[in-house]
Symmetry: D5
Subunit: 150 residues, 10 copies
């Protein structure tokens, strides 16, 4: 059988290939015609790509066929190891959820009633906002409200 | 010594007192003249209140003096137990961080260089956005960028 | 402030009161005019009840007012401790998810594409099916399909 | 000694080979004349196959001999890592067991007395049910009742 | 509502009351006309007792009514905390399962085929066997074989 | 240096080689003139074999020299990963220890005084007992009593 | 029923009562005519005392009857919480076992063959040894060798 | 770059090479002119060796150069995995620390005041003591007392 | 027996009493004539106080006698729960140890040889350093070097 | 695609190459013209290097190109496994944070108000301080104060 690699290994290949090619995540997104948040997630293994999308990236980053195949397969989403969660850049989001989780919960229930924000019908947006006291990272979690409905 | 309670116990008192008083988190915020995300977090134990703020809430919710005192004390922020993290409304945010954490990290580094979004110089915003296919929960994490600086 | 109890404590009160009253979970459901799976979950703390529903149960089970109040409050759903998860009756479901989880995942994706079964827009059904080799427990998880939709 | 692989590695081979062959899990089941839930579980390592069954799959998916051998070996069932349990499609079932576990337990005891649903004398069924508000995933856990019997 | 206690608290009451009464576990079993393994398990919270059985024990050990009620309620079986599992007398069984688990598994499969020993249709027997080199503890786990049966 | 393998890897080799040779664990034991529980445990890495014993098995199963060497080395006994402990066939023993652990402890103390059953001066016995309602797995843990002795 | 306390609570009573009485652990041991290591362990809940021993201690430390009763009951040995294990004075022993565990294992096997040092037929000795470079803590673990004996 | 191996891998090489060479840990120590406890620990990765010491061992055990290099490197001491800690020969020491930890702590404080036994300025001694009822393993932990000193 | 409290409870009393008295940690230290880092640690339960020191604090903060007694008792040092470790102010130190731990280790070994910084013969210093870009927290860990010395 | 290695693997290469080259961490820092704490952290994977810096190190240590590339890539900072955290040299810092964490927190709040020491705008300093009673390791954590600022 032809050799194959996991989506997690493919993500490592992509990270190195992008670095070597000197192409930004945003440029890849532009070539694909999708949001940079979606394509980066897909290239890191959190969404399956179509064959056409994977072919575009193969061209841009000179990826091996096994990587291209892996990018199209259905993911097991849960790619973060405990180690990754302690990376400071990621941990600050984890911390914000720990510190403000009950606040978020109370205010969602107050506005919408009993239910949740979907993490499936969901999109992510990451922006820089200029600020004289230091620019700001603005990350928006935008998901459909789903009410508990028996 | 006069009896006292922990901030975590105070948060339980506040939740019940607010329910009994029939006052919304947003109304409390309005009386305090602050963002509802800040005041709710403070009332649940994640920020210390000033004596004046605590007095306003005592009036609104008929809180015991021990609760009012606890609201003013310096918090240990980390109030979520493992149990709370598995509440579905909170878990979806945890899941989003697990699924999209590396994506967020790559895009922050691409835009800003090596560093993090502060979770301290930080504010949270929770909105409803009307949508014909079902209204959406829009939660914004807005923190100052801090670069690794030796 | 009037005394109050947590939803978890309320659930313990309900379990004992139901036992003392000699009334079945199904009879309570019938009085409430709802599915027995929903009302049992609500009485054990997984769904909030309306005041009217809580009043019906108070009448049936002679519950204290603090219990009745707790039943109406918004739950933190995640009531199972690790200890509870190792109870054999519950563990078999946990085991089935561990053994068949990837199978369920593959077949959902094959039938519906990339997405999940909602655990929010969701209902549970528990039946006995007569069988000459020993009657069977038939538990149905029925949730709306949600596709990953950016 | 001839090389061999674990059942877990064999499952990875099967997933890739099925993807490359463009054959559905349901088609494999049809060729084997068994339920798709059983054959998918077996191919992912949760049930041993007979030599005849494994030969059918080898033919369909062009599997290596080491994979075919692994499919016939007795499994250690417990294939899900913590990582897999956090995949959203699988986690929703985990969440349902956490949220409704005590409800399921109470209603099994009410209907059958003290005992459990077997996860061994057990079958799984996964269906799509059309619904104008969005089709539904219907997963049935069907196991023999076993009473505590000294 | 009348006060009540948990089965775990009831077990603590029973242990102390038995100690104070100077009655052995075997004598209690004899009064109940059941195996000492079953009655001890029931008194420690792992099986529900009938009202008649609980009344016999109340008489023997002068138990409070709340204890007697708790003994009759349906257990959540999983009473051992991590702390209890490290008690040396219990740990040796845990160790035996860790050291010999795969051996037990292989030999069950060899003798019976693919399946398990039931821990529900199950009985336990604990004996002393005289031995000139030191008497031996002989603990027998005796459960019905259940084969994987779709 | 000549290549070598761990006892855990050797156990995997033995399991596959036994399967390929079509020889039962009991037949291996018979050739070795020992109890099948001991030899199976030894072949799975829980006891060291003598050179003579290992040679007999090499002959029977056509094992590589590195496997034969590994079988003779002193084990680190604790071979079960958390994953293995959740295999249903092994888990039922784990569950029995969790459910009946305190019962076993109380009855050992009642019969023998303060002490433990040795898991070292210990033997295991696994039998099938015919039963019209379904044959039974009978597993006996037989260890010397050791009293706490300062 | 008369009130009772756990052995763990009793240990806390003993620690405070000893402090208040200004009596050393060694003096208690002397009054009891036993090794200070044994009596201290017993008073902290790791060994049951006889009624006579408990009475001596009650006299010395003015203990309540519930404490005296608890001291005589059979312990669940495993009293250290994770928190206690991180106390630096205890942790250094834990560290020594982590760092030197395999060394201890290899040398026991070399000297005695396959087996263990008993922690049941065991005694502990704690001494000060004068040393010009700083006195030393000398802790001896002395247990009977038990060989693996089927 | 020349290939290299970790100290943990080197320890595995040493264990096998010693077995093949038929030389005891004590004989190696004798050749090195050091205590067997120190040299065994060093060969298992817990202490760095000098080049001269490593050369002696290379000669005795015919080790590869990569092993010899690894033996001289600075260790990360913490070599025991959770799996190793459950090996019965090592676990008994872990158990002794769990059962007697608070006793050791109280008696160290009584004799020396507030402080610890060093695990760095520390030596280990392992002896056999003949005993008509069965020889004993005598393991001595001997470390300098360090008082808390601000 | 007179009531008593744990050192952990005493720490809670001290935190509230200090807040009510409006006295700073530094002022308490000044009254005691010790470093503020030492006295704060002692009042939070990490060091035992002398009777004289405890009396000074009782006077300043109007503490109950049970608190004063607890302050003098020998601590179990390890007071941080997992919850406390996730408080952002404390977590940043944890993070620094995770990120820079190996760096610290390499540079200690380079400068001093094989050994550790003592956390017992140790003092802590916390300062503000003015800085035009924002004042800085300067925390110094100062411990005696201890070399591995057999 | 050209082979690549992870930053963690690169760190292992650097450690061995530095050992072989006989160059100190301080000498490498001097060649780079940076603090030894920064360059050591970067070489162990905690900071990205510039191409120029990596080239200097390649020259000094004769590193492979894949190592040089890895040194320049963006790190996931969180390199310590649980195993590494238990290395005694690193653990003492972990212990200091556990024992003195609340003290550090209280004194930061007293001096600066509600906020944290940044671990990003942060520098580390490691010095030897001569002391007649034994030289001391002096490690300074120096980070910008960040106040909670909504």
């Amino acid at each position: 059988m032809e050799p194959f690699i996991s989506k997690r290994e493919a993500a490592e290949h992509v990270r190195v290939a992008r670095y070597r090619a000197g192409i930004s995540w945003a440029q890849i997104a532009e070539q694909l015609g999708v949001a940079k948040e979606w394509s980066t997630a897909a290239l890191l293994g959190s969404h399956p790509m179509t064959a056409a999308q994977a072919a575009v990236v193969q061209e841009l980053l000179s990826l091996d066929d096994a990587v291209v195949e892996a990018l199209q397969m259905q993911p097991y989403r849960g790619p973060l190891s405990e180690d990754d969660l302690s990376d400071p850049t990621i941990y600050r989001f984890q911390e914000a959820v720990m510190v403000y989780g009950p606040t978020i919960k109370e205010l969602i229930h107050e506005e919408f009633g009993d239910g949740i924000m979907s993490a499936i019908n969901f999109q992510l947006d990451i922006q820089r906002r200029a600020d004289p006291e230091g620019d700001r990272v603005v990350v928006t979690f935008d998901g459909k409200f789903l009410d508990y409905k028996w």
